[in-house]
Symmetry: C2
Subunit: 187 residues, 2 copies
């Protein structure tokens, strides 16, 4: 496919920079499409062509950290990367994903709320494929795909936001529960 036009690339950068500035200044709730467009000096149509919708913009803001994370579990050092036992890698993977999710909870919440299905393009599929691979290696006879969904589900942003925010549950308790789940499934 053709290279991105230079004006498009420039606009993309301006939009992301403006969006980051707005999130830093007013939080995620202040991130309205019209405001981002105005701050970036482009029309709202440009935002939509580039990012699809509000949730697409949120995912784009998350993307940088997501790439780091994917690199870490695909080719980084153990126990996250190759070299450790599948069960240990799965535990490390879910723990790291928990940390990343908590760190960007506001953006993820907005992204999933704006359009729930978008979550399942891109990042989620990569996480699912990785975890299913680990499960399949540890227990070839199991339904690795469904089990991977089940282990990833407790990390959904709305649930974590509820428990960590209103519920007063600490991250470490969630991590411990995940470890127990992995032990039960891959044990």
């Amino acid at each position: 496919m053709r290279r991105e036009r230079t004006d498009a690339a420039r606009n993309r950068a301006k939009i992301l920079a403006a969006a980051e500035a707005i999130v830093a200044a007013h939080g995620v709730q202040g991130l309205s499409m019209a405001e981002v467009a105005a701050a970036a000096g482009v029309g709202v149509g440009t935002l939509y062509r580039r990012f699809g919708d509000r949730s697409g913009l949120a995912y784009a803001l998350i993307d940088a950290r997501e790439r780091e994370f994917q690199a870490a579990f695909m080719e980084g050092p153990p126990p996250l990367g190759p070299g450790a036992e599948p069960a240990e890698r799965a535990r490390a993977f879910l723990g790291a994903l928990l940390d990343r999710t908590v760190e960007q909870l506001d953006l993820l919440l907005m992204a999933e709320t704006a359009g729930p299905l978008a979550r399942f393009g891109g990042a989620y599929d990569a996480h699912h494929a990785h975890l299913a691979m680990l499960i399949g290696r540890a227990r070839p006879e199991a339904d690795a795909s469904c089990l991977a969904d089940a282990l990833l589900a407790p990390l959904a942003a709305p649930l974590l936001a509820h428990r960590l925010g209103d519920g007063g549950v600490a991250v470490e308790r969630v991590r411990a529960a995940l470890d127990e789940l992995v032990a039960g499934v891959l044990g």
Copy 2:
């Protein structure tokens, strides 16, 4: 607290009837607040005072079946109700919840999308409390609350919609994976 005024009760009934008719005729996507209000012959303000927002209206439509379900697992016959072993009850509970969720997938999807936090008032709390009770009975030393969240998470509407719809996964595969999870957690 005071009894509901008769005009308010009448309007509530008219609104729910109109909403059900619209869902039956045009599906969940046709359920716009203005349209429901017009069909019920009330102003939109009345919808909002009564149901809070779009997701509140969706939950109200789900409510009847939810009450049946709660009665079944709280005081119905085993294995769902009292009388069976905790592990078996937990399996039956998650299976029944899976069925109910699939049955009302569209409404649940809309309800969670419209306001993700609303899910965690009412029905979710009841499910969580019940499952945590069963887990606590089977394994007093475990963190029953967090494990209950983890076992309920795979039943989130967006995930099920994705797997059952686009992914081509059958309900029975999901059920089998849940059974395996329960087996892993409850010994």
